[in-house]
Symmetry: C3
Subunit: 344 residues, 3 copies
């Protein structure tokens, strides 16, 4: 299917800069662009590619100013990355969708199944499960007893949801996600032996949450572990029992959040970050990759780094001096020498 | 089902402080307490909630002293957290249990299956497998050839156990656990090419071990990777080939232990810790989250932090000074100036 | 099956040092050696075991010089670890292999299946999939639509490969590996809300790649995430969208590589390392465990440590001084005191 620059600009409410009759039938990255494809430019690091790309069309932000001649037709839009998302979404939706119930699969007689669902072969749906409309369970998905899943949610192959959990609408969980495994709770029963504390709570995940491959969200000891509306979790993240993550917070891969901690709204947490248990993080906090947070953060919007973390600017200053410690030691030794000479 | 404070105190061998006829039918966290529920207080951080909780009953440690009036009935016990564990265990055991063999499942004719097992749909039991009494294999569990699993062990949906591994009794493995994947062993075969070293050993896991979701325990190159009795592993942990973890050691999420290292008894290892290969850790060592251990630790009971780690107290002191490095540099510059003036 | 030292030496093109008629029927680690077994010695840390091992035969490097008497027969070879790999490979290949199609399994009618494949029970093979010769899909493997898998590749139980990915020949993926999950791409659509950027690219994995348990390789936004020939990835690694890892690079467990970064050939990356996005790493770079890389590394063969990382030697020097910061502060205070006295 071919689209002209004029067609696309109209769809995106953008402005053509160049030959509007040029057409494309695929997308490509700007640095790998080929004739007949559309690329986008959003990250300033990649600006130099626009002068050499072979892409026929490039989406750019409205305020982009070219330094040199560009052979591609530009389409100027409010936000190039978001416009790309819109285009790709249209493209995805045009593809054939899995629907219906493949065999063999296991659906309990007490389960309620909405219209237009897809249940892949070898998927398991336990007792009293409720699946909304257009839910897609790919092969090898496990949905434990009494779980509820909202409309249009997609569980990719091999997702596991333990009993009694509640999953919202419009969610996407990737392969290997585990929702509702037992929290890590043990009471010392004699000096060095542990007794399991049964985890009788559940997990509640609200609407529009996406969870990356092999991420784990543990069930609460009592009550609920809660992931609010719009949260995005990357791959291999650990969310412990009774954690709460508030709306639209985004967390990168391999981060871990220990038990009972609360993360505010609109936070951005880098990869491989660790949060200790029983603390809370204010809204809009940003945490640099590999940081460790050991205390409650009350200041909204603060940017943190280090393990234990403190504010980003001061951390950067201290780290520059850490690199220069050998020089600092030499300065101290020089001072000692000078003083010894002065004392003579 | 309702229980009075008097009933519960008798079961727990505790002492009622308040109205013993008050009854509950559920549990809740103290900060979310509601009438008709039982809560507990163990973590000192949460003491203030006891004066405002709406829970009808609160389990507390024997030595708890109230500062103000408390509306809930207290039950005083030796250890409130452990008493909670006992109560929740009774609650869990009262629930209906999965039992029997669901279809379709795959059980080799050469497998031996104990009494009262549960084998969920789509579970796979290979040749010569031996399953003890009351073993539960949830849907999508894979048990490779020649594996032995002890009585009452539970493998949640999607656990994978490779051939020849040995699993003890009373173990719980959560979804996505992989036992017996190949260790990471490659011999350089020319300058930059690698030849796989087949991993012909196995994994031995003793009794009462709990392993969290998506944790991996690799099989030994030769001999066995061993997890001793009572060890508790959280989610997303990496245990490499030929590692040994001794009794009752507890390890938090996302920690990794490299090949052939040995961890002692009763150690407590925080989250996101890394242990290098071919080292050993004495008994009762504690390691702070995000630390890195690069050498053998011979001193029992030591507390370590940092990457590479050293003792906790000195680490804390150094880290405070790291934060103050900009000030330290100013001090040095001031000294230089003063000396220059003295020299005049 | 018994083999004499003479037999083994001939197979390995090695030299017998001791009784060539001694025979073995198993392998063991040198520190756990028993009569009738063969061990090897490659790591210098383990040299002392050779004088006390009960193993009947020990493989050693040609240039090994004994300090004391050794009771075992030695076989001297060019490279003891590689020779072991050869022996174990022969041993593995002598074992019976899974082959054929177990039931129930799901193989789309439009899939093409090579000779001598193994498809385990509950494996799923989607539309238009192409499986090469001798491919092994263990139980619960998921192969999405349009995936191609080369000859002799093994996917262990529970591996998931999303649609349109391309897997080479002679690869081994361990349980829980997820290939082709969506990259983590979201465009801010209003102040604090995110719109998913559909990930329409794929993953390409070349020949001779081994991937450890529960490792994730995300599909590209556009184009391909690429893992080149001979790369070895350990367990629980995160490879984000549009990353490229070049030939024969080896990466230890729990490392994460953020989006669009490129790693050179023959690199060695330790465990729990983090690489930020949109950077590139030169060939033969070595990165110490737990390091964080925030910028492009252009110098081939450099060794890095720290977070953010700099060169290994300087890092070690700075870290020694970090440990000594309390002493450095005392020195500064002593200098201040002396200057004050001089000023009097």
């Amino acid at each position: 299917m071919n689209f002209t620059a004029n067609d696309i600009a109209e769809f995106l409410n953008g402005e053509v800069d160049g030959d509007g009759t040029v057409s494309v039938n695929n997308v490509s990255r700007i640095e790998e662009g080929e004739a007949g494809t559309l690329s986008f430019l959003a990250n300033p690091k990649y600006v130099h590619y626009i002068y050499e790309t072979k892409s026929s069309i490039v989406l750019v932000n409205k305020d982009f100013v070219a330094d040199k001649e560009i052979s591609a037709t530009l389409i100027r839009v409010e936000d190039a990355y978001q416009a790309l998302a819109q285009l790709l979404e249209m493209y995805e939706q045009s593809k054939p969708q899995h629907v219906g119930i493949e065999q063999p699969s296991f659906v309990s007689k007490t389960a309620t199944v909405g219209e237009q669902v897809y249940i892949g072969a070898f998927a398991y749906v336990g007792s009293n499960v409720k699946l909304g409309k257009n839910v897609k369970l790919y092969p090898h998905v496990y949905v434990g007893d009494n779980v509820t899943i909202g409309d249009n949610t997609i569980l990719n192959s091999g997702v596991k949801v333990y009993q009694n959990c509640v999953i919202g609408a419009e969610c996407i969980f990737h392969s290997g996600v585990v929702i509702g495994g037992d929290g890590f709770g043990f009471a010392p029963s004699s000096a060095n032996d542990y007794k399991k504390v049964p985890q009788v709570g559940n997990v509640i995940i609200e609407d529009h949450v996406e969870i990356g491959a092999n991420t784990c969200v543990d069930r609460a000891t009592m009550g609920s572990t809660i992931i609010r509306k719009g949260v995005k979790l990357d791959n291999l993240i650990q969310v412990a029992h009774n954690v709460e993550i508030d709306e639209n917070t985004v967390i990168a891969a391999q981060t871990g959040i220990a038990g009972s901690s609360k993360v505010g709204k609109n936070c951005m947490i880098g990869g491989q970050v660790g949060l200790a248990g029983h603390l809370s993080i204010a809204d809009e906090v940003k945490i640099a990759a590999q940081s460790g947070i050991g205390r409650t953060i009350k200041k909204e919007g603060v940017v943190l780094q280090g393990s234990p973390a403190f504010e980003f600017g001061p951390y950067q200053k201290s780290y520059v001096l850490f690199k220069n410690l050998p020089k600092m030691r030499e300065q101290i030794m020089a001072l000692e020498k000078e003083i010894n000479e002065l004392k003579k």
